[in-house]
């Protein structure tokens, strides 16, 4: 099974994690148009490439961000949300 590294708990098999989907910035609901909002809700960057994703380490209840290439399934780095700089 694939390995993933939780910034707090270390490297673990994928079975310890829950995939949280792409990390996306929410547009300002007050400012955004209906169709732009619908696009935010439903559309995804489907094409393969390096993406920021939410992952959750279940045993410790830790959410973190993984930068993963969805084509090669290689993880470039992982860090806690908002601590990208320190990573």
């Amino acid at each position: 099974m694939k390995l993933l590294t939780c910034p707090v708990n270390g490297t673990r098999p994928l079975s310890e994690f829950v995939f949280g989907g792409e990390l996306r910035a929410m547009p300002d609901p007050a400012a955004v148009s209906d169709s732009a909002w619908a696009a935010y809700v439903y559309n995804r960057i489907g094409a393969p490439g390096l993406k920021k994703e939410w992952w959750y380490h279940s045993p410790s209840g830790t959410w973190f961000v993984a930068e993963r290439n969805t084509l090669t399934d290689q993880v470039a780095r992982t860090y806690l949300y908002g601590q990208e700089a320190q990573a």
């Binding site: 707090v8 673990r12 079975s15 045993p59």
Partner: protein, 219 residues
């Protein structure tokens, strides 16, 4: 009115008809068999329940400071533990702590009886863990089936603890020397206790081991 608490695991133990007794107000399995057999089980592959110990949980950015103010010394690194007096102090991740008195009342009981903690970024964590002990020469083999991690290597570093999955559920694991024997301590959510006990004791029996009562360790 006084009352007796039930252990989260007891349901899975009834069929083995253990001698029950009360510790810290919880009914707990003291003996499953004759001392000789328990001894043999413990040496091969023993599984015991420690759920009756008193625990105190707290988390939040302010937890460390608050505990230290209460005179509790804390593990310096995340996911490690230490023993203060007769109390096991677990640091779960960065800012959550679990204190567990061993056999006799200690810091956990004291804090539990205290008035509810007050302070910034300070959140008490109610606990009702199922606490198990895995012992014997085959303990590692059992963990090798139930857990994907290289337990021996991960816990080679003394005072380290792991939050991982055992038999498919979230478990906190550490290695400890108890009465001169090195054993594995496991904590899981109480509602999974019966399940985990069943699976681990089944595996233990396959190695000629079996359930061991709390009194075996109460020395």
């Amino acid at each position: 009115m006084t009352f007796i608490q039930t252990s989260p695991v007891s349901h899975a133990q009834h069929h083995a008809h253990p001698v029950m007794g009360s510790l810290n107000g919880m009914e707990i399995a003291l003996e499953f068999d004759s001392p000789q057999i328990q001894q043999a089980y413990a040496a091969l592959a023993g599984i015991a329940e420690f759920s009756a110990f008193t625990r105190f949980g707290i988390k939040g950015a302010g937890a460390a400071e608050w505990l230290q103010a209460k005179g509790i010394s804390l593990p310096s690194a995340a996911n490690s533990w230490l023993m203060q007096d007769s109390t096991l102090v677990l640091r779960l991740g960065n800012s959550e702590y679990l204190l567990e008195d061993q056999f006799i009342a200690g810091h956990a009981s004291a804090l539990a009886q205290d008035s509810a903690p007050v302070g910034a970024k300070l959140y008490p964590v109610a606990r009702s863990d199922a606490a198990l002990v895995l012992s014997g020469q085959h303990a590692l083999a059992i963990l090798a089936e139930a857990c994907a991690l290289d337990i021996a290597a991960e816990l080679a570093q003394p005072q380290r603890l792991l939050m991982t999955q055992v038999a498919g559920i979230s478990v906190t694991v550490l290695k400890q020397t108890l009465n001169g024997e090195s054993v594995y301590r496991l904590w899981c959510d109480g509602t999974y206790g019966a399940y985990l006990w069943h699976e681990l004791s089944t595996m233990a029996q396959e190695f000629g081991g079996g359930p061991v009562g709390l009194s075996f360790y109460f020395k």
